[in-house]
Chain length 370, copies 2
Amino acid sequence: MATIKDVAEKACVSIATVSRILNKKGKYSEETESSVHKAAEELGYTPNLTAKRLKTGLTGTIGIAIKEYFLLHYPVLLHTAIKVLNQQNYSVEIILNATMKDCVNLLNRGQFDGLLIAFIDNDEHALRSLIKSRRNFVFLGGSIEREDVNMIEIDYFQGGYIATQHLINLGHDNILFIEDNENLFFTQEIKRGYLFALDESGIQYKENLILYGDHTYSDPGEFTGYNSVRRLISKRQPAKQVAFTKPFRSLEVKAKRHNHQQSGWLRNGREADFSAVLTTDDKIAYGVLKALKDGGLRVPADKSIIGFGNLSSSEYLSTPLTTVEIPLSQMGELGAEILVNNIKRRDSIIKRVKLKIRLAQRETLSKRLT
Amino acid sequence: MATIKDVAEKACVSIATVSRILNKKGKYSEETESSVHKAAEELGYTPNLTAKRLKTGLTGTIGIAIKEYFLLHYPVLLHTAIKVLNQQNYSVEIILNATMKDCVNLLNRGQFDGLLIAFIDNDEHALRSLIKSRRNFVFLGGSIEREDVNMIEIDYFQGGYIATQHLINLGHDNILFIEDNENLFFTQEIKRGYLFALDESGIQYKENLILYGDHTYSDPGEFTGYNSVRRLISKRQPAKQVAFTKPFRSLEVKAKRHNHQQSGWLRNGREADFSAVLTTDDKIAYGVLKALKDGGLRVPADKSIIGFGNLSSSEYLSTPLTTVEIPLSQMGELGAEILVNNIKRRDSIIKRVKLKIRLAQRETLSKRLT
DNA sequence: CTGAAAGCGCTAACAC
DNA sequence: GTGTTAGCGCTTTCAG
C-alpha cells in the first residue's frame, strides 16, 4: 500500500507538504497542490487511518453497546443512531452483549471517541470508573440513578400508567398484567404504572391478576405469554401455584422467579377473571393472542389486549396489536446527537432526557359492556 | 490515560518487558511478571489499541457494508455475522449504504482486516480495484458474476421456482406475480424461477399477471402491494396502464418503472383473473393481504399467497404468511467464517457457496378446486 | 531473561 | 510556501 512517503517522493516534495495539501491545512501553492494530488491519484493513495488516529488521538469511531435482543427485535434504535453518527462522519462499531465493565475497558483503550450504551445493567463500580475516566458516553435506557451522567430515559412508568388508564376508561377493571421473567428495571416501572393507575381509579389491585410470561431477553428466540393465559382460561385444568425447581441467581429475584415449563401460575392459586390484558412486551402479547384464540375467545370482542414495545410486526397481526410505543428512534437520534456534541464541543453539561411514551392504538381494544 | 511507559516505570522494568508479559510472548521471570501485572492493575492500564494496530498492521476489526433496509428488516443477517466475528475476537463496524467504490477505499485505508459486503450493487470498475487490492472480503448476496471472488449466493431462481411449483401443484394456474419496483438482480431471478416453473408445467405465462408493487428498498418505511391488487380486484374501476411522470435513473430501468402513486397498472390494460399470488417481498404480500381483505376476499379460501423473505413478522399475521425463507442467518455465519479463515490462514482458495431456499409453509395456501 | 532502539504512517510545531 | 523533526504508544529485533 502506498504511504504518504511514496506520494511525497513521487511529487518531489516533503511528506509535510503532502499532509498539508491532503488535509487542506496551512498554506501551499496551487502548483504543488496539483502535483501532489496527481501523485496521490496515480499511486491510489489512501491515508492510513490508524496512523492518523494514533497521531491525533481521535478515532472518528463511536461504539454502540447493545444487547442482541435489541439488535434483533428493535433494530430501529441502532439504525437511527448509526444514521445520525454517519452524517457527522463517525464510524460506528457494534459491541454485542457488553457489560458495563466492558464499556470501561473499551473506552480506555482509546478505541472510540465515545460510547452509546443501550439498556445495560447497572454496575456501580464500573459506573464510577466510567465517570472518573471523563470519557464521552451516553446511556440509552437502563436503570442508572445517578444524575450526573448523560442519559436518555424512557418513561416506562408513564407507559404502564397510560395503558392501564386507557383500559380503565374503556370500562375494564379486571386487567391482567403479564410481565416478562427477568425482573428488569423497566418491567418494574411498567408494573408501577399499572398499579398506580388502578389505585388512582380506586380499583383494588388483585395479586392473582399479575402473571409471568415465558419471555426472556437473554434468549432472543424464546418468548410467549401463551402458557400463562392458556392455563388461566382452561377451567378444567385450573392454574395453580407450583414449587420452584431451578436454582436462582439471586435472593432478591428468587421470589419472583419460576421455572419455564411451569409458567403461568397464579400467586394465590385461585382462578382469575379478566376482561383485558396488559403485557410488558409485544412478544408476550403475541402468545396471549394465540392462547385466547386457541381457547375460543375473540379479540377484541371478548378480551382486550395492549402490548408494549411496538415491534414492527405488531402492526400486521390478525388484529393489529394496540401497544405502547417506545420512542426508540428518537432515543437513538437524541443519544447520538448529545454524544457528538459532547465530543466535538467538549460540552460538559449533563443532559438527562426522559422520553414520553404514547399508545399506538390499533385493533385489540373494545369497550367493556357493563 | 496510563501508557505502557507508566507501567514500565512503576514496575521498574523496560517497556519491552511490559509488552512481552502483557502479550505473553517471549520469556520472563515469574517475579517480573507479577510486579508488572501489579503495576498495570494499579494504574488501571489498558493498552492503546490504535498504537497496537499501527505497529502490527492488524486492526482486529471487520467491516460490514449493508443497506439500511436490511439492517431494519433482516437484522438477523447482521446479528449472526457479528456473533461469529465476536467469537473470533473481531470488532465489527457497520457501514450503511456504502457503494462498492466506498468499499475499496475502506479496505485501502487499512481500517479493516476484512469486509463483509452484503447485497451491494455491482460496479465493475470498483470490483476490479477490490480484487487487485488483494484484501480480504466476502460478498453476501448481490449480483457479481465473476467467479474469482468469495461469495455466498442465494438461489433466488430456485426460490421463485419452488414457490411457483408449489402453487401449481395445488392446482393454481393463474398465478399473479408482484415484484418490487427496483428491478434488482434478485427480483429478476425470482421472476425467472416463476416463469421457468410455469413453462415446465406447460402453463402459458400471461403478461397481465405480472405487476409491480410499491415496494422500494431505498425508502425503508415504504412498501405495499396494496394498490396493485386493490385496482385489480375492483371491477368497477378497472386498472389501466398509466403514463410515466417521473424522471428515471437509467434507461435500462425505465421501461420497468412507474410512479408511486400510479402503481398497480397492468401491462396490457386488461383485467386479470388469478387464484394465487407470489410476491418478491413479504412486505408486498402484507399489502396484498390487506387489499384482498378490503376487497372482501378471504385468504386462503379465495386466494392463496406466498411471500418472499420470511420477515420475522410474517409468522404472526392474521393468517401466518407462507413465504420463501432466505437463509440469511446461514449466510451471515458462513460469510463471517470464510472471511476469518481468509484473514487468519491467508487461505486464498476462492469460496463460492450457493445457498438453497426453502418454503416456510404456513396458512395462506389452499388447494384450487377445479 | 531483560533493555535499547528502530520504526509503523501520520501530524504539527518550528525553522527557514 | 516548504522542509525538518519530534513524537503518538506500541511491538519486535538485536545485543547483552
